[in-house]
Symmetry: C2
Subunit: 139 residues, 2 copies
Amino acid sequence: MTSMDRPFSRVLDRLKDAGLRPTRQRLALAKLLAEAGDCHMTAEQLHAQSQGAGIRVSLATVYNTLHQFTEAGILREIVVDAGRSYFDTNVSDHHHFFFEDSSQLQDIDGASVTISSLPQAPEGTSVKRVDVVIRVKQD
Amino acid sequence: MTSMDRPFSRVLDRLKDAGLRPTRQRLALAKLLAEAGDCHMTAEQLHAQSQGAGIRVSLATVYNTLHQFTEAGILREIVVDAGRSYFDTNVSDHHHFFFEDSSQLQDIDGASVTISSLPQAPEGTSVKRVDVVIRVKQD
DNA sequence: ATAGTTGCAAAAGTTTTGCATTGTA
DNA sequence: TACAATGCAAAACTTTTGCAACTAT
């Protein structure tokens, strides 16, 4: 996989498809996310990185942008920890280890988890996603 | 199952085992949770119910108590929604549907979900719990 | 008495919203 | 110019913490 294949290299197209203007802030945040590679980032972390890179953007805008990217399918939001959202740059089929001691996430390839039986979605609803979180602790 | 078998009927023993004193607030909150039966309650909801029942207790104490009960194994904390924790009175082996439209949880019996392959826990860690959340949306 | 516990006001976080500003056609 | 979209300050939430008050020996 070359860097050209990474989701964020197509970010301009993605933003266009989602009806989002390619503003300075969005492009800068998308670039940071692309450079970070596969990762699980909080809004706070991305905001800090932005400041470090000399990009002036408010935390509110970071949140709004992360949610817009999530809507557009460029990111996936993961909630495993009370009062903190993670945004995952890996949007392919996969699951997560959650290290409760350090509050860190680690990807598990989708092929490593086999769910051989699941109940049907309740009448009138359809499954949007199945999340498997393996919570682990230091011995 | 009679009401005497429900976890909260043993709350006095449970509190004792956990080294928690049976204070007025704890007993009142435990009683409300027991009466509610199997449910997924937020701290805010439990606090509202307490007020409704004429129990004077602060929201902070509700949070502290819910966490203490969770530590004691009387409750399980479920995090599926950004910025909101649910406390589940059902601590048996089970999973959840999450209705994204209404932010409601519904139990799935453990036997209804079969995971036939899972990766090993990373070196030096052990699995504390495997959470499966089926996210559904209204058609 | 006193050592340990508890409950809550106040503080600390996180996330969302309202609206002036900006950008586009 | 008009119209919609954007970015951020301020507001709204949720959750945690520090410490005065309380409890059980």
